[in-house]
C-alpha cells in the first residue's frame, strides 16, 4: 500500500501543544485580555506585597497635618506623608487601600473556589446521575437562582453573623448555582457525544469515562465563568461591606466598609471615596477583561 504511506507521511509532525497551548497563544494576542492581565497583576501584586508597598501601619492612628487648626478632626487631604489622605480617625488611606487588596483577593478567590467546588459537585452529580437526582438538584438550583444574588448574600451573612469567613460562604453560595448549571449542561451534552460513545464501545470504565473524558471537556465554560465570577465576587464583597455587613472589626481595611465610613464626607473628602472605589474598579474590570478574553480564546469556533 505504497500510495497510502505517501499520503500519510506528508503530514509533517508538529510539536504537541494541545488545546490549552493553542488557547494560551490566542489569549496573548488578545489586547483587552492583556490589559486585564495588567490590572490583575497590579491587584494581586499589591495584595501579595502589601507590607512592602504600604508606608504605614493600616491600623495605627497618625497625627493631623501640622497646618491643621487645633481641635480639627479627620479626614485630612492627601499630602506627601499620606498620599491618599487620612480618614476620620487619622489612619493612612493609602496603606488601608493597599491592605484592602489582600482582603478582597482572599475573600474573592476563596468564595469563587468554594463556589466552584460546591456548584461543580452538585452539577456533576446531576449531570452524571440524571433522572430523579438531576431533577431535585436542579430545582434547588432554580430556587437559588431566582433570588437576587446580593439579597441571598445579605440573608446568609445575617444568618451566619458578620465576619470574613461568613462573607466568603455567602458569596460562594450565591455563585455556586451558576457553576452547577454550567457543569450539568456540559456533561449532558458530552454524554451524547461521539467520542464518549466510542470510548464506551471499547469498554472504558464508567468512572474513567466521567473523570477523564467528560469532566475535562466540560471545564472550559467553568473556567471562563469562574474568572468572571471573581469580578462579581469582589463587587459583592465590597457591596456587603458597604451595606454594613462587612467584617465586624472596624480596623479591618475592607474596601466596601471604607466607602461606607466615608460617605458622610463625600463633599469634604472625595479622595476617601475615590481611591477605594478605583481599587474596586481596577480589580473587577481586570477579571472581567480576562474572563472575556478567555471565553474567546477557549472557543474553538472563533479559532483564527
Amino acid at each position: 500500500m505504497a500510495s497510502g504511506t505517501v499520503a500519510v507521511a506528508r503530514v509533517a509532525p508538529r510539536a504537541s501543544r494541545g488545546l490549552w497551548g493553542d488557547a494560551w497563544r490566542r489569549l496573548l494576542r488578545n489586547r483587552p485580555a492583556l490589559l486585564g492581565f495588567v490590572f490583575i497583576g497590579v491587584f494581586v501584586g499589591t495584595a501579595v506585597l502589601a507590607p512592602l508597598l504600604a508606608p504605614h501601619d493600616p491600623g495605627a492612628l497618625y497625627p493631623p497635618p501640622p497646618d491643621a487648626s487645633s481641635g480639627a478632626t479627620g479626614p485630612y487631604p492627601p499630602r506627601p506623608e499620606h498620599l491618599m489622605g487620612q480618614d476620620l480617625q487619622g489612619r493612612d488611606e493609602f496603606t488601608r487601600v493597599v491592605y484592602g487588596a489582600r482582603i478582597s483577593l482572599l475573600v474573592g478567590l476563596g468564595s469563587v473556589i468554594f463556589g466552584v467546588i460546591l456548584g461543580g459537585f452538585v452539577g456533576a452529580i446531576a449531570g452524571a446521575a440524571g433522572g430523579r437526582a438531576d431533577n431535585v438538584l436542579m430545582r434547588v438550583v432554580d430556587v437559588l437562582l431566582a433570588i437576587p444574588g446580593i439579597l441571598l448574600a445579605i440573608g446568609i451573612v445575617a444568618w451566619l453573623d458578620r465576619g470574613l469567613p461568613q462573607i466568603t460562604i455567602a458569596v460562594a453560595v450565591t455563585n455556586a448555582p451558576i457553576f452547577a448549571r454550567l457543569l450539568r449542561g456540559g456533561l449532558l451534552a458530552i454524554r451524547e457525544s461521539d467520542y464518549v460513545l466510542a470510548a464506551r464501545s471499547v469498554g472504558v470504565p464508567t468512572r474513567r469515562l466521567l473523570l477523564r473524558h467528560m469532566l475535562p471537556n466540560s471545564l472550559t465554560p467553568i473556567i471562563v465563568a469562574a474568572t468572571l465570577a471573581l469580578a462579581t465576587a469582589i463587587i459583592d464583597v465590597a457591596g456587603l461591606g458597604f451595606l454594613g455587613l462587612g467584617p465586624p472589626d472596624p480596623r479591618t481595611p475592607e474596601w466596601g466598609t471604607m466607602l461606607t465610613d466615608s460617605t458622610k464626607f463625600l463633599r469634604a473628602a472625595p479622595y476617601l471615596i475615590f481611591f477605594p472605589g478605583l481599587a474596586i474598579v481596577i480589580s473587577a474590570v481586570g477579571f472581567n477583561l480576562l474572563g472575556d478574553g478567555l471565553r474567546e480564546s477557549l472557543d474553538p469556533r472563533l479559532k483564527k
Binding site: 497510502g4 504511506t5 494541545g18 488545546l19 467520542y195 466510542a198 464501545s201 471499547v202 472504558v204 471537556n217
Partner: protein
C-alpha cells in the same frame, strides 16, 4: 453455531413525538471470520441494529423491545452493563462514521489507546504503550512513537480513522462492527481505509459487519449482504448472488440508482420514487409498497416474510453457500431486474386500498 445470532430484534425509540419503529424484527447470523454487509438508506435501522448488538442505544429513549441477540454462546440482552463493558473492546468493537468527532479532543492518542488496552488487560503503562506503537505501525501511521503524543486535532481524517481502527482491533475482538467507516472520508482515503480494514480482519480472523449505504463499498469487501429497508431485512444473499440476481424491488432500485462507469451511453439512472415511510407509525403491509412498481394488492396489507428465492430450499443462514432470501410477494424476474421496471404485459402496480389511500395521498404522487 454461529458467532453472532440476531433473532427477531425489535428496537423502538420512545420520544415526545411518539414511538419510532426503528427496527421491526431483524434476524441474521454471522460466522466467525465472516464479513457481512448491511446496506440501506439513512434511517433504515442499520446503525440502530448495530448499536443494539453492542447495547449502546441512547438511553432512555432507545429500547430493545423484542428478539434475542446471542454472541459467542451468551445472551447479550440478559447481560448486565458491567458484563457488557467487559466484552466491549475485548470481544466486540465498533468503528464509527465520523473520525473527526470520535476521538476525545483533550486527550492524546497515547492516553486513549493505552486506556483501551488497560480497560481489559492488566498491563503496565510501558507495555500498553509498546502495544499502542505496534498497533499504529500496523495501521500504517508513520513515526508512531512521536505521533502517539499528538492530539486528535493534529491528525487528518483518514489518519484518525486509522487510529480508531487500531483501537478497535487493539484486543483482537471476535466481532468488529464498522458503521459507515468511510462515509466521512475522501474517496482516495476511503479505498485505503477499506483495504486496511479488510486486511486486518482477514489476518486476525475477526468477523465483521460493515454498515454502509454505498453498494460499491460492500461489493468488494463482504461475503454476504443484508439489504435493509424501514427496519426490516428485505433481502439477504451472498454478495455475488445479490448483484447478479437482485430479487427485491428495493434492491433493484438501489442498483439502478448507482451511476456506472461501464454504462451504455445515454442509459438513464432510475431513481426510487417517494420517500421512506414515516416510522412513527406501526408498519402495516410491506413497507416498500408505496414506492414499489411491482406491488400487488396483498402488498398493502401483509408484509411478506423473508423466504428463499428458490422455493423449498433448505435455509442456510451463514457462509458462502447462504440461501438467497427475499421478502417480497412479487419478485422482479431477472429480465425486469435488468430493466429496472416491470415488463409484464399490462401489469399495473396495485393502487392503495381506499383506507390507506387518503393517508398516503401526501406521500405518493
Amino acid at each position: 453455531m454461529a458467532l453472532l445470532s440476531v433473532d427477531g430484534l425489535v428496537v423502538r425509540f420512545r420520544t415526545h413525538e411518539g414511538t419510532i419503529h426503528a427496527v421491526n424484527g431483524v434476524s441474521f447470523d454471522l460466522d466467525e471470520g465472516e464479513t457481512l454487509g448491511i446496506v440501506g438508506e439513512s434511517g433504515c435501522g442499520k446503525s440502530v441494529t448495530s448499536l443494539a448488538i453492542m447495547r449502546l442505544l441512547p438511553k432512555p429513549a432507545g429500547r430493545i423491545e423484542g428478539g434475542s441477540v446471542r454472541f459467542d454462546g451468551q445472551d447479550l440482552l440478559a447481560c448486565s452493563e458491567a458484563e457488557m463493558r467487559e466484552m466491549r473492546g475485548r470481544d466486540m468493537a465498533m468503528i464509527f462514521q465520523d473520525p473527526m468527532t470520535s476521538l476525545n479532543p483533550v486527550l492524546t492518542i497515547e492516553e486513549q489507546m493505552v486506556e483501551t488496552i488497560q480497560a481489559h488487560r492488566k498491563v503496565g503503562n510501558e507495555e500498553a504503550r509498546a502495544r499502542a506503537i505496534e498497533l499504529l505501525t500496523i495501521v500504517g501511521i508513520p513515526e508512531p512513537e512521536n505521533r502517539l503524543r499528538a492530539f486528535p486535532h493534529q491528525f487528518s481524517g483518514g489518519m484518525r480513522q486509522r487510529v480508531m481502527i487500531a483501537m478497535a482491533l487493539a484486543l483482537a475482538p471476535k466481532l468488529l462492527i464498522a458503521d459507515e467507516p468511510t462515509t466521512a472520508l475522501d474517496v482516495t482515503i476511503q479505498a485505503q481505509v477499506l483495504e486496511l480494514l479488510q486486511r486486518l480482519t482477514t489476518e486476525t480472523g475477526t468477523a465483521a459487519i460493515l454498515i454502509t449505504h454505498d453498494l460499491g463499498v460492500v461489493a468488494g469487501m463482504t461475503q454476504r449482504i443484508n439489504v435493509m429497508y424501514a427496519g426490516y431485512i428485505v433481502e439477504a444473499a451472498p454478495t455475488a448472488e445479490l448483484f447478479a440476481k437482485p430479487s427485491h424491488p428495493y434492491t433493484v432500485g438501489l442498483l439502478h440508482s448507482i451511476p456506472r462507469l461501464d454504462a451504455v451511453q445515454g442509459e438513464e439512472l432510475i431513481p426510487i420514487e417517494g420517500a421512506p415511510p414515516d416510522q412513527r407509525r406501526a408498519p402495516v403491509g410491506c413497507p416498500f409498497a408505496p414506492r414499489c412498481a411491482w406491488r400487488l394488492p396483498d402488498c398493502w396489507t401483509t408484509n411478506p416474510p423473508l423466504a428463499p428465492v428458490r422455493a423449498a430450499e433448505a435455509v442456510v443462514t451463514t457462509g458462502p453457500g447462504a440461501t438467497h432470501r427475499v421478502a417480497c410477494h412479487n419478485s422482479p424476474t431477472p429480465g425486469e431486474a435488468a430493466a429496472g421496471r416491470p415488463l409484464r404485459e399490462g401489469f399495473v402496480a396495485a393502487p392503495p386500498p381506499s383506507a390507506v389511500a387518503d393517508e398516503l395521498a401526501v406521500v405518493v404522487p
